[in-house]
Amino acid sequence: MWAKRFGDRLLASFGFLVTLLALIALGALIYDVVRDGMARLSWDFITSYPSRRAEEAGILAALAGSMFVISLTALMAVPVGIASAIYLEEYGGRGRISRLIEINISNLAGVPSIIYGLLGLGLFVRLMGMDRSVLAGASTLALLALPVIVLATREALRAVPKSLREASYALGATKWQTTWHQVLPAALPGVLTGVILALSRSIGETAPLITIGALTYVPFMPNSIWSPFTVLPIQIFNWVSRPQAAFAENAAAGIVVLLGFLIVMNAAAIALRDRFQRHL
């Protein structure tokens, strides 16, 4: 009896300990970055171009590049993603093609991001001749975000009660009228949450953009979809890979800005989800 209780206690405290350790790891990561980067973080840092001298370098071009690329990514991936999800959830039925598309999408969601980089390099940069442009980068990230958006939108559509659709049909509405005027508005907060999470993942992507050849040193603003660009994570990577400690500080300050962005986006997603849960 005592031995049994002892085992129980042991497992419980061990579980507690491991959970605590994982949380400490998260805390250590954030503490480490903030401690290293806070000193370098200033308005000048945000509004300066990169420089050979660490103290003068800033993230202006990278920040602008990130914003530009992610807006373009959203423009391409969100409509197609939502449309695909609507087809699969509302129209698709159990046919063989829908089943194939479904399996395909869940597999795409598991393909490593670097493979999308190779696809972007072969397809957009070389075959379609987009070169190392903002457009090529955004197209690559759009393909990467697409399966995540589809999966999240389907989840949100599935949560809309059947009765809503049936009531709409009973009033003589067509399938599309029902989807557009009833189902989609009801699912909107859930859809937006998924979209924001997918885009915030894309903002942090580094490897696929390096693979398509995004530059690491950009002392100018990207001014059209054809201009060369860099993004914040690539700028951070560039600074981390230099041996001087001053550049590591820059990297940490860049990370603080990047994490700040992600926190804002995720907070928005959580706020939306809370509203969603209250309504249904």
Binding site: K4, V18, A28, G110, V111, L143, T206, V240, A251
Partner: protein, 296 residues
């Protein structure tokens, strides 16, 4: 709008939606075609046996060798370390949160842990190189500044919430009747969770583990930054290595003209990586489907 034109509109909309959905198949086709095309070009110049079984990887040197094994062992070594961190701790956390912890604890801890999965990998790279490695160097003798150990551990921390959340979902789906039966027979919580719940959720848990493995193999930035970019056939976690993913980025960072053999190597390595992760994802999906059927 009369009934006829309305039907036409409905038809057009349905076709348009279908086009979007089936477009996703083109993405997969695009990946396979691009990888296949360049890989075949590569294999015309390098025999496949040399590629798969060669033990020296120096495509960027004057004396070129195209044996991919050093990159494969590098990938396996880093992933194995990551799994050694993520599987036991992820499982323990899942058991603790699902079978022991109070509901409010579970509801707060889980999303906080999932923050770990949302942090960009370049941030983990920084953490591995400038925080974990110096820390480990104080403990592990002979640990180089670039090594497989530190990025492996950090990668494990990154995929930990994937293992814990998916395993927790699987345990949660186990019907309560099974737990009650175990308690009725006099089982303690530990006996119930380890001998009843975990085995009952086994296919769901293995799906989580395999998915985590595929994520570790495909992870790029952490190993690129902290593992040293030196292809080396070794299982020693203290020395610099290079993974398949890191090699692809390393070549992309330089100025390699399209159409050269060096340029094609990254697609050949990418193909190998794609096949590995694709197979793992298929197995994971299959296990999850099976699990869903068991407790539908």
């Amino acid at each position: 709008m009369n009934a006829r034109s309305r039907r036409v509109v409905e038809f057009i909309i349905e076709r348009a939606l279908f086009l979007c959905a089936s477009g996703t198949i083109l993405v997969t086709a695009g990946i396979i075609l691009v990888l296949l095309w360049e890989t075949l070009g590569f294999l015309r110049e390098v025999p496949i046996t040399e590629f798969l079984f060669g033990t020296v990887w120096t495509p960027l040197f004057y004396d070129k060798h195209f044996g991919v094994l050093p990159l494969v062992t590098g990938t396996l070594l880093a992933s194995a370390i990551a799994m050694a961190v993520a599987i036991p701790s992820g499982l323990i956390i899942a058991i603790y949160l699902n079978e022991y912890a109070a509901e409010p604890v579970r509801r707060t801890v889980r999303p906080v842990l999932e923050v770990l999965a949302g942090i960009p990998t370049v941030v983990y790279g920084y953490f591995a190189l400038l925080f974990v490695t110096p820390l480990l160097q104080a403990i592990v003798p002979g640990l180089a500044g670039f090594n497989a150990l530190s990025p492996g551990i950090v990668m494990g921390i990154m995929i930990l919430p994937l293992v814990s959340s998916l395993s927790e979902d699987a345990m949660r789906a186990v019907p309560n009747g099974l737990r009650e039966g175990a308690y009725a027979l006099g089982g303690t919580r530990m006996q119930t969770s380890l001998r009843v719940v975990v085995p009952a959720a086994f296919s769901g848990i293995s799906a989580a583990v395999i998915l985590a493995m595929s994520r570790a193999i495909g992870e790029t930035m952490i190993v690129l930054i902290a593992a040293g970019q030196q292809p080396r056939l070794t299982l020693d976690p203290r020395v610099p290595i290079e993974t398949m993913t890191a090699y692809i980025v390393q070549v992309s960072l330089g100025d390699t003209p399209a159409g050269t053999l060096e340029y094609r190597t990254i697609f050949a390595v990418g193909m190998l990586l794609f096949i590995c992760t694709f197979a793992l994802n298929l197995i994971s999906n299959w296990l999850r489907e099976r699990f869903r059927e068991e407790y539908a």
